[in-house]
Amino acid sequence: MAVEVKVPTILRTYTGGDKAVPGSGGTLGEVFDDLDSRHPGIKERVVDGGDLRRFVNVYVNDEDVRFTGGLDTSLSDGDTVVILPAVAGG
């Protein structure tokens, strides 16, 4: 599956400054593996062991993947993956 991954400012050192990069994989975990093959080090900043890092949120088509299967979330062609640091409100 071909998806678009939107990268937060803080992680753009891994993508040569690109705000969005293409990725491929049937699941979110596979997409991060694919990204890491072209942007070494990026996966480790988002994933810790088998889980997302505590202060990182990842959304597929605007839905938080922690409620859709985490790294096992399945993806379709044209999906948008957004990585963001967790922020407060209120």
């Binding site: 937060p8 803080i10 992680l11 988002v46 202060f55 938080d64 957004v82 963001l84 407060a88 409100g89």
Partner: protein, 315 residues
């Protein structure tokens, strides 16, 4: 309805149907009008509950100084209550929040400390925690970790929704401190666990997420993900579009974050229609649009509005 004082009039807000925005008579949307609270936002519930609890615990006595990191509404609620109860209030507010919020805070006598725009409310929390260490005698109610915040919704908002809409299938609310959803979520998990609890969080411009290390993000201490079923990130474009739809179709004038919440609620409605299921979806109107008029969200094209909200803490 009669109350002994303004503070006593918090809660018991109206629930209104949205017949023109609802997809059908089987899939209906309902708005819980929290803008009808004493200072015009859902935060009156949490703010007054936190003060009441601190007084009960003996932490707050007249003359005390309250400190709170806030993007606006909680501070405004605290400022009104502080004035009536003779407390001094110091609010730490990100500098990229609307001018109306600052004016309201000053009007009720709060002192404002600005935190840097980059990092948004995360920075306000960090600055306030630093100030709390320097001023050991000040009382930080700390909405992000204060159980009284969620409790106000567990005992108030949740039961009110169920009483007015016993057939409720979904509750959709904003996720900031997480207090509303933690309280409402726990109430429904215990009383009517089939109700789906859905969170909508604002997605800001890049500036707000800051340049700090990704390991320095912030998750409120109150947050328990087991109390919600799904969570959506909504950008300013969708939020503004929905705010205008609500005005055009139902006449409701709401703040920008409520547009984001409506967007998530309509997503649930579309799913129910597709699955041919009945749904009664209640969403929380956090506040009215008054405090956001200067952001330009209510006039001109959606493109222009989206551009003007870039870099603002609009929820």
């Amino acid at each position: 309805m009669r109350f002994d004082s303004l503070l006593d009039s918090v809660g018991q807000t109206p629930l209104v149907g949205l017949p023109r925005l609802s997809p059908s008579s089987d899939v209906r949307l309902w708005a819980k009008l929290e803008d009808r609270n004493p200072t015009g936002s859902v935060k009156d519930r949490a703010a007054l509950a936190m003060i009441a609890q601190a007084e009960k615990d003996g932490l707050l006595r007249p003359g005390c100084t309250i400190l709170e990191p806030t993007s606006g509404n909680t501070g405004i609620s605290l400022a009104m209550a502080a004035r009536l109860k003779d407390y001094r209030l110091v609010c730490v507010l990100p500098e990229n929040t609307s001018e109306e919020r600052r004016q309201l805070l000053r009007m009720w006598g709060a002192e404002i400390v600005s935190s840097p725009a980059a990092g948004g409310s995360n920075e306000a929390v960090r600055v306030a925690k630093g100030m709390a260490k320097e001023h050991a005698d000040w009382v930080m109610l700390y909405q992000y970790g204060n159980p009284a915040n969620a409790e106000a919704h567990y005992t108030g908002t949740g039961p009110e929704i169920l009483a007015d809409l016993p057939e409720v299938t979904h509750v959709v609310a904003g996720l900031g401190t997480t207090g509303t959803l933690m309280g409402v979520g726990r109430f429904f998990r215990e009383t009517l666990p089939a109700v789906r609890i859905v969170a909508a969080e604002p997605r800001y411009g890049e500036l707000v997420y800051g340049l700090r290390n990704i390991d320095e993000g912030f998750v409120p201490e109150l947050y328990d993900p087991s109390l919600i079923d799904s969570r959506f990130s909504v950008g300013p474009r969708d939020a503004v579009r929905r705010v205008r739809e609500l005005l055009d179709l139902e006449g409701l004038f709401v703040g920008i974050s409520t547009g984001a919440i409506l967007h998530a609620a309509l997503g649930q409605a579309a799913k129910a229609v597709k699955a041919n299921q009945r749904a009664d979806i209640c969403f929380v109107v956090c506040d009215g649009g008054w405090k956001y008029l200067s952001t330009g969200a209510y006039e001109g094209t959606v493109d222009d509005a989206e551009e003007r909200l870039e870099g603002q803490v609009w929820a």
